[in-house]
Amino acid sequence: MAKLDTTRRGVLATGLTGTFLFAFHLPVRAFTEPEEAPDSTQGKFAPNAFIRIDRTGKITLVMPQVEMGQGVYTSIPMIIAEELDADFAQVAFEHAPANEKLYANPMLGVQATGNSNSVRAWWKPLRTAGATAKAMLVEAAAQQWKVDPASCTAANSVVTHTASGRKLAYGQLVDAAAKVAPPKNVTLKDPKDFVLIGRRVKRLDTPNKTDGKVVYGIDAMLPGMKFATIEASPVLGGKVAQVDQAAAMKVPGVEKVIVLDDMVAVVGQHFWAAKKGLEAANVTWNDGANAKVNSAQIWNELRAASRKDGLVAKQRGDAAKALGDGEKVEAAYEMPFLAHATMEPMNCTVQLKPDSCEIWLGTQIMARVQSTAAQLTGLPPEKVIVHNHLLGGGFGRRLEPDMALKAIRVAQHLNGEPVKVVWTREEDLRHDVYRPVYRDVIQASLKDGRIKGWKYKVSGSSVVARWLPPAFTGNHDIDFDTVDSAVDTPYDLPDFRVEVVRCEPPGVTTGFWRGVGPNNNVFAIECFMDELAKKAGKDPVQFRLDHLHGSPRHQAVLKLVAEKSGWGSPLPERVGRGVSVQPSFASYIATVVEAEVDHDGEVRLRRVTCAVDTGIAVNPDTIEAQLQGGLIFGLTAALYGDVPIKHGRVQLSNFNDYRMLRIDQTPPIAVHVVKSAEPPGGIGETGVTAGPPALRNAIFAATGIPLRRMPVDREVLAGRKQA
């Protein structure tokens, strides 16, 4: 039997060699073969799908990944421009069109942005693309000068013949370069020669974000556009019962009420009219089969499932035997549903005509929006044109096409006018795909301060099974995301077993949420490590170091964060420091949170320190920003994030009850980036994973209370409720 490798890296690598991706017919190109650029027009040098240079020397790079704040519209241009030796000041970007062939993410196999892998996945291919284009430009110059290309150099968008000092700018070379055959093999730069990568380069997407010029999907404006808002069944599977259409039509500015099976839309002259019209319509629902679903039932089912044996995701040694050796410790951790709450609420603009469908939105999945829209409209995919935009937050929510499909269903009832469908925040929170509830049961045995046996069983929904079924079935029904950092733990655990139980919650659709599977795995493991350390009478940092002999990079960041955070120095009453270490997304991170818990159980964040080794830091400034932001995102969830369900309905309305950390609660956050020559790791989601366990351990240190459920329950910390 083939050896199972169920790490995210393993599965994705397998995917690349053909198992599940084949099922999708989504071949990933070798980028040394230049693609024909989709719009290779006269007067432009377009050596592949990513690079266009015009006669003025302006370089336009086509972004295969989408920008949702993570800085990829700067880091990807940096990677290309580095090998292209382009003048970065002349670089502009363009959103890629939907084209799975040209722009599929090499690690995911689909045109999607997620999993913190944009830089990881494109590192090699885009450097190669840049280097190839440069070689062609140099060749063109050399031909003109009739010299050996090897005697020429390129820098800042200029080719120079070293011996004669002759120079030609890229803009002057575009016509000639377009005729040069691309070289088969190019050599990439030695990282020590990088001039852009590793510098705190200014972002390309931010200037327009300071003066209102930026256009997100929600800002799409078209002549003759209508505005709509929708209310979908609050219970999954429910149907519209009654709609007061007349009342809605009476609202000034309302033009149309569209009543569908499971959704009502009001179309008007502006969003306000549509919203008021929808309120006046006073829609009632037949709730259907999920009418009685509630949080307690979901938890009961999950707890029952977590008592079953799971599928083995990974094992080594003999965990069962080792668990009998020494003092046995067990704990179960429970994680809530979470909503994404991207700052830009869900929206999509559609213009549907008999023979075409144009879509304006911000999405992490261009090609899937195109293909599902084609399915829904019955149009051939090439008649579906998707205009992507900058995203006002993605966080995994925009890995779904639902906002586009709903907007198309509205447009199907109009006469070809463009319609912008904007969801209210309430609709956005109630019709999310939620981060699954998880229950993690970990058992370990301790002997002489060391962990002997280790058994980790995670129970929860499989997002991959819904989102990319072949990746689930192709992996023996084990969702690599659910067990990601459980199988990939950095600790020295010779007798080790990871099991997974799939348990789908009734009436709730689950989805990817920034930090995905590792959020849950790292939380459980890091909380448990603190509990083990306490049992063993060891300092939490020391206890971890004792079990990190197999991972020097983790050791290094842990030591660094301990030093920078003042680990071990005295603290006031009811203040604690907590640490977490994580392997996720191929970045090595250690974090310390310092927090205070008052007698009412209220938690105040005092300070966060983070040390990160993410390999080559393409743009260290972006890495620091992503960690700061990710930590806040994760800490917000740890303190407040929950999605209660009652009567089949999500019990959330807006930011008043789906609470966000605010600036006055945000502590200083120091990020220390370690210099490294290793290939870059992922960064966009890592901070989210890092925050909650470190906070929970800080609370443990401050109060002695080992919280085992998220979010932080202030009643428990105040001693008014059992943990």
Binding site: K276, E279, D600, G601, E602, Y640, P644, K646, Q651, S653, N654, N656, D657, Y658, R659, R662, D664, Q665, R714, E715, A718
Partner: protein, 456 residues
């Protein structure tokens, strides 16, 4: 020995005297309580039976509805009497009952008054219905609890009560079982209510006052019979009966404080103009006096806002005649300074933190909203109430009201903010925008939540 005896006899006598005094005080207090005046006693003109009254009929529906059908008239009267608010569970079908009244000695659930024959009042005769409205008796003659304001409703005319019945019987019957009350002994002994009624619930229809104008009498009928203002606004005595000696001087009910609506200018509504009173009743908001929330917000939304202007004017005229009573509330504070750094500081920094994040965007640092006068805190009685309870309740539940100018909403913060946080922000708000800071604790807020809690 003798001295001891004498001493003892002396002591005995002293004890006896003391007992006699105590008994006398109790009896006097009892008499004082049971002989309390009725709600209209303050108006000293002669009260006559409605049939003997010469002025325009103060009862019934407004003029515009005089010729409407019985059911339509009943619908208006049911709104005026605010039946729906108490007879509807949270999120439930109107009039199907199940609303919980949480009292110190247990919980009472309002009954289903849809015409369902099994769980509602579908089998009730007119006489049974009148008995309930006027005497607080159910169809089997069992005593209702005075959560049903029959001590006020007794003044409703038979004709009006039966119009309400006709309206209720026009509704679709809803089969809805209501949870059993959970009152503790002795409060679960319904017969005791009979004794209480003897003293505190006269069985008497509205009697107009001949010395007052027809407008005043219309206002009195609406206020005392239909809208039952006193049930919330009049303090209760030891026997939980309305103490009309301090009529409308304010009282705490079900977790909310109903404020002094007498003509005292510092602590009541004496300083309000007629227009302000009119605005407040008809729209739930008066410039400079804040916005109705909680039960008063419901009364406005469900009842007063649907009354014609002449009825609101009648109510204003009636309220203007209520004798001033002072209450223990401070005079209203002026606006707070524009700078968050100036103004009253309180020790707990959390209150300010919550305010700056979740509240200041609407309510501003001065308390005068830059968005809508509905959100202005300055001048609102709730923020000038050192109890702080109403502020906390508004934070917990939000304010959801429909007004003629569109919907007015303050979101509810009760789900995501802890008791300690809500206490802190209420204390901050009363300190900054009110006359004296409240001193709520997490424990108090938990009790406030409990007082308004409704079953799922």
């Amino acid at each position: 020995m003798r001295e001891w005896y004498l001493g003892r006899s002396h002591t005995m006598r002293r004890i006896l005297i003391a007992i006699a005094v105590v008994v006398a005080v109790i009896v006097a207090a009892g008499l004082w309580i049971v002989t309390g005046p009725g709600p209209l006693a303050f108006a000293q003109g002669e009260k006559v039976a409605l049939s003997d009254y010469k002025g325009a009929d103060p009862t019934g529906v407004p003029a515009s509805l005089k010729t409407a059908s019985l059911v339509e008239r009943g619908a208006w009267l049911a709104k005026a009497a605010d039946c729906e608010v108490c007879h509807t569970a949270k999120g439930g079908t109107p009039y199907a009952g199940g609303f919980a009244f949480t009292l110190p000695f247990g919980t009472i659930y309002s009954p289903n008054i849809t015409p369902d024959k099994e769980t509602g009042i579908g089998n009730w005769t007119d006489a049974q219905f009148l008995n309930a409205v006027h005497k607080g008796l159910d169809d089997e003659g069992q005593h209702l609890y005075p959560a049903m304001p029959y001590a006020s409703f007794t003044r409703i005319t038979d004709a009006d009560a039966l119009a309400i019945k006709a309206y209720l019987f026009s509704l679709p019957p809803v089969h809805a079982d209501i949870p059993d009350n959970t009152l503790r002994f002795p409060f679960n002994q319904r017969w005791l209510m009979g004794v209480w009624n003897l003293f505190f619930a006269a069985d008497e229809r509205f009697r107009p006052d001949t010395a007052q104008s027809p407008q005043w009498n219309r206002g009195a009928y609406i206020a005392e019979a239909l809208a039952h203002c006193g049930e919330c606004h009049t303090p209760r005595n030891l026997a939980f009966a309305l103490d009309n000696r301090r009529k409308f001087a304010g009282e705490v009910n079900a977790g909310w404080r109903a404020y002094n609506i007498t003509n005292d200018s510092a602590t009541g509504i004496g300083a309000w103009s007629d227009n302000q009173l009119f605005d407040y009743l008809s729209s739930g908001h008066a410039m400079g006096h804040g916005t109705a929330a909680g039960p008063m917000g419901e009364a406005v939304d469900q009842s007063f806002s649907r009354m014609p202007p002449e009825d609101i004017h009648a109510l204003v005229a009636y309220l203007r005649s209520i004798p001033a009573e002072t209450s223990d509330l401070p005079a209203l504070a002026p606006p707070a300074p524009a700078s968050p750094k100036e103004g009253v500081a309180i020790a707990d920094a959390r209150g300010k933190e919550i305010y700056e994040g979740a509240c200041a965007s609407c309510h501003s640092w001065t308390g005068i909203s830059a968005i809508t006068p509905y959100a202005t805190l300055t001048g609102a009685r709730a923020v000038n109430d050192p109890g702080g309870g109403n502020v906390a309740q508004a934070v917990i539940a939000g304010v959801h009201r429909s007004s003629l100018d569109g919907d007015v909403a303050m979101p509810s913060f009760g789900a995501a903010y802890s008791d300690a946080e809500i206490a802190a922000v209420a204390n901050y708000v009363t300190a900054r925008f009110g006359a004296r800071p409240s001193n709520l604790t997490a424990h108090d807020v938990a009790a406030l939540r409990k007082a308004v809690a409704q079953p799922d």
